[in-house]
Structure formats: C-alpha cells, structure tokens
C-alpha cells in the first residue's frame, strides 16, 4: 500500500486533536499508523466497519469491559495490556476459550501521540502473547477536559468448552474455594503511583491473561462450579457476588490467604484491607471438594498460579454472609464494600 499522507504522524511530539476523530484523513492516518500497525492482523487489515469471523460450533461467551485507569502507565503494565487482559479474563472465567477482541478508544484532545503509540504497542503485544487478535475497533476524540487521556473499552468473544458449566450461581455447600495467588498487587501498584508512595521493593501489578490458567484448571477439574477474576472490589467483592448469586454462605481462613509483604505494608500504611484491593491477574475457583486437590495442583503447576491456595469453603447460609476466621482465631463478616474503600484518618 502506498502512503496517501504527505507526512507521517509525529509520534514523538504530536498531540491528539479533534481532527483525529472527525472521520477525515487525519483519523484514517491515526488508525493506520498507530492502531493498525500495533495490532496488525488479517481481520483488521480488511479495513471494514466490522470483522467477518469464522463459524463457531458451540455456545459463545461475550464480555465487555471499559478501562479508565489512572495513571495510564504503572509498574507492571499500562492501560493497553490491561484492556486486553481484563476482557480475556472475563471470557476465560466463564469457562470459554477467548477467540476475538474488539476495542474502542475515547481519546482526549491534547493527548500525546507518543503515549498513544506506546499504549497501542502494549495492546498489540498482549494480544499476540495471548493469541487473541483485536479484530475491529473504533476511535473517538473528545474535547480537552471531557476525558482523562485515554479510555479503552474492549469486548471479547469466546467459545464455551463442551460440558463446562461455570457460573456464579453454581456454588454449592461443601465446595472448596481456591485462590490463584497473592492478592492486592494491581490495586496497590496503582495506589502507590497515585500517592507517590515509594517502597523499597516496588509493588508491581499482577495484570495477566488468565485463559491459559483456566484451561489448565478446567482440564484437571472439568466439573468446576464457578470461577471469577477478582478485579475491582478484590476477592471480598467477588466472594460476596458468588454467595449472593448462589444463595450460599462462604467461609474463608485469613491465615490461608496469600498477601505479599509490600502489599500488606502499603495497605497498613493507607488503612486499606487487601481483601478489597483490585487484582488483574488472580482468580477465585469454586469446585466440588473431590476436585479440590486436582484443581489446586493444576493451578500451582502453572506460572500464573504458583502461589495458589485453598482459602475456604462454601457453607449453607440463607443470609449469604461471607465470613472469615481471622488470624487470631476470631470470626468476622467480610461484607460488601460500602462505596469505594477510602483510607482512614488514624
């Protein structure tokens, strides 16, 4: 293809302006030189309004997720790879193999093209590593002050495995509750950036695509009842959602929940509870007790599940409480968060 543009985009000093969203030549150039280059695949190369996909034989899963993280770049990742991982994970925990992604960008006028190119490259890398192409997309530009740099919404389509029935409503009393690794790393990495907290060992986001891990898990324990990636609201929110959907109680053991020391220290400093801090590469898995050992083994055998642990069990409780045996031996509720988790004064 010959380049129809007089000059290439200035990816060093250039800024997003309103013409990049106006449907004209500038927009076409932005898409071609930033997104199409970074996300390159045969579907996108067609340049059509949508992507024609192959025919799937089984049931499909679709999930969508808007990403509005601030700061856009953080230790361990950025909004680009996060937007790929987040949606892949939503599809994967449903028990499906993620096949395709769609991405929609809202750009703020004045946003540096260099940062946009970096974000697009990170998306491309994440998508290639995961083997899940971004097959179609859209770009809009809004006036300065109407957005926070870049918002990215991704939608994912996946194919459900035969015989797998993974859903939040499937937890049954007696089921084992497994966690794939240490919690709170994404949320505290972000918080440390925002609050300029410097730690001896910087906290790195756990952002990762979990479909390989769910694949291994379902291979070892196809009768898995429920999986959930514990993103916003942490494992506290995810466990409450499952208890609510399934009409059960859940009992967890604080001593069994892995938290790395820097995360624990940062939470302590800010008065936060790691149970409610966001993760982007951790999942909860709920399975019949007979499958627990095989499932735990499969998790631990995978690099993303090396720190996996059995943290509790599902119990009968019409009040649908999530309860925790504390490290001191007392009991308490792990309640829904009331609004955002805010640091305490003293």
């Amino acid at each position: 293809m010959s380049a129809p543009y007089a000059r290439p985009l200035d990816l060093k000093h250039g800024l997003v302006d309103l013409t990049h969203g106006s449907g004209g030549r500038a927009m076409a150039q932005l898409i071609r030189e930033v997104f199409a280059r970074a996300l390159a695949n045969d579907y996108l190369a067609q340049g059509d309004d949508g992507a024609r996909l192959g025919h799937a034989a089984g049931r499909l899963v679709v999930a969508t997720d808007a990403h509005v993280v601030s700061p856009l770049f953080f230790p361990g990742g950025d909004i680009g790879c996060l937007s790929v991982h987040g949606t892949i994970n939503d599809v994967a925990v449903m028990g499906a193999r993620p096949l395709y992604l769609a991405a929609s960008f809202v750009l703020e006028e004045g946003f540096p093209l260099a940062d946009l190119a970096r974000i697009a490259a990170s998306m491309g890398r994440a998508s290639r590593e995961a083997g899940v192409p971004v097959v179609t997309g859209d770009t809009k530009v809004v006036e300065r002050g109407k957005a926070d740099g870049v918002f990215i919404t991704t939608t994912g389509i996946g194919e459900l495995r035969d015989g797998v029935d993974c859903a939040g409503a499937n937890a049954r009393p007696g089921d084992a509750v497994l966690l794939s690794g240490p919690i709170g790393e994404h949320g505290m990495a972000i918080m440390a950036c925002r609050e300029n907290l410097a730690f001896d060992a910087p906290i790195v986001s756990d952002t990762a695509a979990l479909h390989g891990l769910t694949d291994a898990l379902l291979g070892a324990a196809p009768g898995m009842h429920a999986m959930r990636d514990a993103t916003r609201g942490g494992i506290g929110a995810a466990l409450n959602e499952i208890a609510q959907q399934s009409g059960v109680g859940i009992e967890i053991d604080e001593n069994a929940i892995p938290v790395r020391a820097p995360v624990e220290a940062a939470c302590e400093l800010l008065g936060l509870d790691p149970l409610y801090v966001a993760n982007e590469g951790r999942l909860l898995a709920i399975c019949p007790p007979a499958l627990a050992e095989a499932a735990l083994h499969a998790l631990r055998a995978h690099p993303l599940g090396a720190g996996a642990a059995l943290i509790g069990r599902v119990i009968e409780d019409p009040r649908r409480f999530v309860q925790m045996r504390t490290r001191l031996g007392g009991r308490r509720i792990v309640d829904w968060l009331h609004g955002d988790q805010l640091p305490r004064i003293c």
Partner: protein
C-alpha cells in the same frame, strides 16, 4: 511485617485470651469501653469478641472523629465549596458523611463542588500554593492526633504568607468527651476504659488520671494491635478484680506520662479552647474542642467566610447517644440494619467503619441474627 506481625500472633493471642478467661469472674460482668475508633476497628477486624469470655463486654466509644462531627459542620463545609467557590481539601473519611438536604461531600463534588481528597495537611498547602487565585479551605477534623499537623499547616501558611489558605476547624478533645460520658445524669454502665493509642502519644497518660482518681474508673492505654488490646483487657480485668482504679500504660513503646511536648506546644501556640462544641450523638460539651487563636484569625474559614453554624438535630429514632454511653448495644436500636445502614447512615455511629454500629453491621452482625 516487622514490628506489626509480632503484635498479631495467633498463638500469643490464644495464650492471653486464656489468661483473661482464667482471671475473669464468670459471675459478674465487665463492661469496658474502648474510647477510640481505631480500637473498635481492630476488635471488629480481628474478631476479638470471640476470644473473650462471656462476662466481658466491649462498649464502642465515641473516639471516631468522623462519627462525632455534627451534620451542621459538614453543611458548613459543603456551603463553603458550593456557595463560596472554595477548593475544599479533606481527609477521605468525611466524604460520605450525610449532611442536610441528602447531600454529602461526595455528592456535592458530583454536583460540581471542588472537593479534593488529601492524605496530609501538606497536600492542602500544596493545593493552595498551586492555585493562588483560589481560596483553599482545609476541613480540619480529628482528635489530638491530627491537631498538631493542622497547627503546623497554619504556622507554615502564616510564615509563607499563604493568604488563600484557611481551615474549618473541628478538632476535638478526648478527655472532655470522657468526662461527658462519665457525667451523664442517668449514670454510666462502664467499668473501665481502654485508653487511646495515637491520641495518647501526643497528650501522654497524665490527662486520664482524673478518671481513675475522681471517678474510680480504671484506664489502660493500649496500642492498636490485637495483642495490645488483649493485654489491656487483661490489665483492666485485674484492676476490677482487685478493686483498684489506676491509669496503666500498656503502650509503653510509644506513650509516656507527659506525651509529646513539641506537639503540645505547637497546638498551644495555634489553638485555644472553644467555649462549647456540639458532638454528634453526645450533644453540646463545654470546652471540648479547639479554635484558632485570634492572631491566626485570617486562617479561620469561619471568620473569613459567612458560613454560620446551624445545628441540625439528630434523627429521633436514633439511639446513638445511648450506644455511645454503653446503655444500648447497636442491635438494640430500632433502626439498626433496617432504616440505618452503612449505605444510608442515619445516626453518627453508622457513619464511619470505626463507628460502633457500622463496625457491628460490617463485621459482626452474624452474631445478632439467627443462624
């Protein structure tokens, strides 16, 4: 975590709990108030009630700065931001405190008010420096722990001629509130106090001596870790059993009898006592709060802007006053968990996670309800 894990050791906790159970007389009751919200939070978060014998009951006191802040004071802050167009800098806890007209600072922010969450008074000064054409008001709240940083901020503003900075002062005093609880005309159902941790690092242990001498109530100052609390409860049980009333200090790694002299001097230089201050749930208490001294009047938002204090009565159905004095348990309030929840708090005790009702609702309500 070094210096923290040591105070959260499950094995040691069980040993202490066993010692408490051995010494507590099962035929009597021990009603101990932990004054401080930090202690309430620790008790709830670690489920300490399960480790204590049935004879011991912990009463959650009013030491939660957000909970005791009356509606009228939040109204003032919201009016400053909405009507006077100031940048209101505030600690995060106050954002969800319900004010008049179904407003909170969070909602006022959503409606366009410039409300900014900060972590320290230094952040508030930085906002003032960065916005020389805007008025910046710091919503100063808290007990003796947060007062010295506010004093430093005012002094820095005065030295640096930061003319666009002022504070809406709501700093309150711990001993005054303890006096008010003990002086209640209906009497008190409290056998001893777990004394505050951080507050005591500033004021020392001496200010609690009148409670032991004049009111015959044991006071044991404790750190915020669960083992600190268990140890303090152990010491309180012992004092009650022996018929003693003294101030004891479990938190010797941080608290002295005299406290932090430099912090006290800073506070003394900048603040003076108010004649009286309204506490949510406890009513108006004489000499229980601070205001800026006249020479710092330019930094006093109440003198700088026309935002008169208008008291707003607490909801009549709310039993916060009785709960804070230990006369009622949260679950004995008519509206607990029904009309009044952490999402929609009606009384002060439900406002912050350190409040008596919110702590019970969030962490302990499985105990009240039938399983």
């Amino acid at each position: 975590m070094k210096y923290v894990d040591e105070f959260r050791d499950g094995e040691l906790a069980r040993g202490l709990a066993a010692a408490i159970a051995r010494e507590a007389d099962a035929h009597r009751s021990y009603r101990f108030m932990e004054f401080c919200g930090g202690h309430t939070h620790a008790i709830s978060r670690y489920g300490l009630a399960d480790l204590l014998p049935g004879a011991i009951r912990m009463i959650h006191g009013p030491g939660c700065p957000v909970c005791v802040l009356p509606i009228g004071r939040i109204d003032q802050a919201i009016r400053l931001a909405r009507e006077h167009g100031v940048i209101l800098a505030t600690y995060a806890d106050t954002m969800r405190v319900p004010a008049s007209d179904r407003l909170t600072l969070l909602r006022a922010k959503a409606l366009g008010a410039d409300v900014r969450m900060i972590y320290s008074t230094e952040d508030a000064l930085a906002i003032a420096r960065a916005n020389p054409r805007r008025e910046v008001v710091f919503l100063a709240i808290g007990f003796e722990t947060t007062t010295p940083p506010t004093a430093v901020a005012v002094l820095r503003a005065a030295e640096g001629s930061l003319g666009n900075f002022s504070i809406l002062c709501n700093h309150v005093l711990t001993p005054a509130a303890m006096h008010a609880i003990l002086d209640a005309p209906q009497g008190v159902a409290i056998d001893g106090f777990v004394g505050p941790a951080h507050v005591s690092t500033v004021i020392g242990s001496a200010p609690y001596e009148p409670f032991a001498v004049d009111y015959r109530k044991p006071v044991v100052i404790a750190g915020f870790e669960p083992l600190d609390l268990l140890r303090a409860i152990h010491l309180l049980v012992r004092q009650v059993n022996e018929g003693r009333a003294a101030v004891e200090n479990e938190f010797t790694r941080a608290v002295t009898r005299e406290g932090n002299g430099r912090a006290q001097a800073l506070v003394e230089r900048v603040f003076e006592r108010r004649a009286a201050f309204e506490w949510r749930g406890l009513g108006t208490i004489p000499a229980s709060a601070l205001q800026l001294r006249p020479e710092f009047a330019p930094f006093d938002a109440e003198r700088r802007f026309a935002v008169p204090y208008v008291p707003v009565p607490d909801n009549k159905a709310c039993a916060c006053g009785q709960i804070l004095r230990g006369e009622k348990r949260p679950e004995e309030c008519r509206i607990f968990g029904t009309a009044c929840t952490p999402e929609n708090p009606i009384g002060s005790c439900m406002v912050s996670s350190e409040g008596a009702c919110a702590a019970h609702y969030t962490y302990g309500r499985f105990r009240g309800a039938a399983a």
